[in-house]
């Protein structure tokens, strides 16, 4: 209830403001402000990420005085609560009631999938965050562009790094038992095994697993364990992993959300030395991030991570596309073409989009270290311009089924 009231208030305030400001905007095409809809889970178990998404996007717009390419911008934020049906309702509200010109978000794959067809049908340019592979592979939509990565896109470089640099031969993977975990483990396994490594055990745990004890106790002896977890699960798994004395026996490596900055800020020395992979780190040394990360930290007292960066990058891409189209958001096709055709220097580095709308950009191998008293993901290696197809042939890649529990088949499991 509060959300719709908040939306109502911001809608009314925005409308009033727009009518006042209209005369000054005569140079811009169309009438009124650009309306951006943000779909983020601000309540429920995904709230931590969703709140960061809103904070970062709000900050982005504030830095630009709510003006992009010379035209006022109004942000309408809707709470999906991390529930697909709610995401669908809110998306419809944003499109049909608020008449948004484009949508940013949502976070979870099952939310994104629930609204994909609707947004395609309504032809709404969407800047996605969710990682579901097929949204930019086997079932792409011309109205969708992903500024983050697919589930496995960041796992590929880490898999190669594990074999070539860390010299790991046997790895156990553990992931959340839903598409994100399946896809990430699948992609990791494929590249790791193609490079000569062996995945000797694959464990998938229910998304709601209060006690990881029984899973930790079955982990087989290997060089390392790969965490394909989201939200707080990696954090809780890791604590039990340490309690069972396993951290001294095998290394821990993780996917892009396992040790996100939002998780690190509640961890201690036990996280030190863990290697993870992502398309972002608050420690990135590029001009845009040199401004963004300290500013975010100053304002909110913690480092931005995956979720905050995702909407900030969305904002940067949108701004570039608006500049290219002279802020003519009424021409949706033109805007979408501009988004997909843009090459933008963002806080994650320079990105462009492939023909399916997925970002091609650098992926960073990071190691947890301590800096100024807090835990950070220091970048130790940069894999430039990683595509969602890694080094595989695109046509061959798409002939395979999407990664799942059983694909690629695990041939090296130990009994």
């Amino acid at each position: 209830m509060t959300i719709s009231r908040r939306q109502f208030v911001s809608g009314v305030a925005g409308a009033g403001f727009a009518s006042l400001a209209a005369p000054n905007l005569a140079f811009a095409q169309g009438a009124g402000p650009i309306r951006i809809g943000l779909l983020a889970a601000k309540t429920g178990p995904l709230a931590s990420g969703g709140i960061d998404m809103e904070l970062a996007l709000t900050m982005f717009l504030k830095e630009r005085d709510s003006t992009l390419a010379g035209r006022k911008v109004e942000l309408i934020s809707a709470d999906t609560a991390g529930v697909p049906a709610t995401a669908r309702t809110k998306a419809q509200e944003l499109v049909e009631k608020n008449n948004v010109h484009c949508i940013i978000g949502p976070l979870a794959a099952f939310e994104a999938l629930a609204i994909a067809d609707y947004l395609t049908e309504k032809e709404i340019p969407t800047l996605g965050v969710a990682a579901a592979e097929d949204m930019t592979q086997r079932h792409p939509s011309p109205w969708f562009a992903r500024v983050s990565s697919t589930s496995s896109q960041c796992a590929y470089p880490l898999a190669e790094y594990s074999v070539k640099e860390l010299k790991y031969k046997k790895i156990v993977t553990i992931g959340d038992d839903f598409a994100y975990g399946h896809e990430m483990c699948g992609g990791f396994q494929r590249v790791f095994e193609d490079n000569g490594g062996k995945i000797i055990q694959k464990i998938f745990t229910p998304l709601a697993t209060p006690d990881y004890g029984s899973y930790v106790a079955q982990v087989k002896s290997a060089d390392a364990i790969f965490l394909a977890t989201a939200g707080s699960n990696g954090f809780r798994f890791l604590r039990q992993f340490i309690e069972y004395g396993l951290k001294d026996k095998m290394a821990v490596i993780g996917g892009m959300t396992a040790l996100d900055e939002s998780v690190l800020r509640n961890m201690g020395d036990e996280a030190l030395g863990i290697v993870t992979t992502s398309w972002y780190s608050a420690e990135l040394d590029n001009p845009a991030n040199k401004i963004f990360a300290p500013a975010f930290r100053k304002q909110f007292k913690y480092d931005p991570g995956y979720y905050a960066a995702s909407t900030y990058v969305s904002g940067e891409v949108l701004e570039a596309a608006l500049k290219a189209t002279k802020a003519n958001v009424e021409d949706k096709k033109g805007l979408m073409t501009a988004i997909r055709g843009s090459t933008v220097n963002t806080v994650r580095g320079t990105i462009k989009f492939d023909e399916f709308g997925d970002a091609i950009g650098d992926v960073y191998i990071r190691k947890v270290t301590r800096s100024d008293g807090r835990l950070v993901n220091s970048v130790i290696k940069d894999y430039p311009n990683v595509s969602q197809f890694w080094t595989y042939d695109k046509a061959e890649f798409l002939k395979n089924p999407v990664y799942s529990r059983d694909f690629p088949p695990a041939k090296n499991l130990e009994p």
Partner: protein
């Protein structure tokens, strides 16, 4: 062999945790005939109280934190019972709905105050080193947790079987009308039992904290487990809650270790069988 020993110990520790969670639920259910759906939220509130107080006061130890959180949650539970539930005495469905609503309020309040991140409850320094059991390594704290659950079970047993208050509660569980007729202040008893149940959940939340951490959604993860334990063990029976907790601990642990894909099916199957063939649960009494 190692597998069976380690997972057996895991089952025991999970069982202990479940007993701390569900004994209060069973107590309240038994006396008040009320499925208190706020119970998971009380547990989570305890975990948050523990996590926050241990984070802010480094000298505090977990036992004091558990006691403090238990008292605080008991007070909140008492107020909730006095101010709201008593008004709905004649409306059982309304009571259940109110407890459900209250659990949403508590979980949203937790999210508002403490954010969406997981907050760890540190394992006590002295219990951090793993214990060697038959040459295998096992987290010491989990063993201590089993001890806590047994201690709580014994304390509750004495309270119920050996004290005047316990006798009154048992009378109320067996026949509320008759208890009232012989002069037992059943309404005040309700409040006491509700405080007690909420308090155990709150303290249990802190003690479970080092395993679970405080995070949004913890309430929803725990409540079904409490329901399963109580339905399996028998409503209002302390022994039932105790045995039920350990049975579920074993089923859940071995289920997820041996057939991870079927973990939840294995968990809920026994509950379905019990409801179908022995509705009063393993140790529950017929009628009442």
């Amino acid at each position: 062999m190692q597998f069976w020993i380690i997972q057996g110990l895991n089952s025991l520790s999970l069982g202990g945790l479940l007993f701390l969670l569900s004994s209060g639920f069973s107590l309240i259910f038994g006396l008040m005939r009320l499925a208190n759906l706020t119970h998971g939220a009380f547990f989570m509130l305890g975990t948050y109280f523990g996590a926050i107080s241990l984070r802010n006061y480094s000298g505090l130890n977990i036992w004091v934190a558990a006691l403090g959180a238990g008292i605080a949650v008991a007070a909140i539970g008492g107020l909730f019972e006095r101010l709201i539930l008593t008004r709905l005495k004649t409306n059982p469905l309304g009571q259940v709905l109110v407890t459900l609503g209250m659990s949403f309020i508590i979980s949203d309040a937790c999210l508002m105050f403490w954010g969406g991140d997981s907050i760890p409850v540190p394992t006590p320094q002295s219990l951090q080193a793993p214990t060697r059991v038959f040459g295998f390594v096992f987290p010491t704290y989990r063993l201590v947790l089993v001890g806590c659950a047994i201690a709580a079970a014994i304390a509750l047993y004495f309270l119920l079987e050996r004290t005047r208050l316990g006798a009154m509660i048992r009378a109320g569980v067996d026949d509320r009308q008759m208890a009232r007729a012989v002069g037992i202040p059943v309404s005040r008893l309700f409040t006491i039992v509700f405080c007690l149940g909420a308090g155990i959940a709150g303290a249990g939340g802190v003690l479970g904290g080092p395993i679970l951490s405080a995070y949004p959604g913890l309430d929803g993860d725990m409540l079904p487990l409490a329901l399963i334990v109580v339905i399996l063990g028998g409503i209002g029976s302390l022994l039932g809650a105790f045995v039920g907790s350990f049975i579920i601990g074993f089923i859940y642990t071995f289920g997820s270790a041996l057939f991870p894909e079927l973990a939840y099916i294995i968990l809920f199957l026994p509950m379905i069988f019990v409801i179908a063939f022995r509705p009063q649960g393993l140790f529950g009494r017929v009628g009442a």
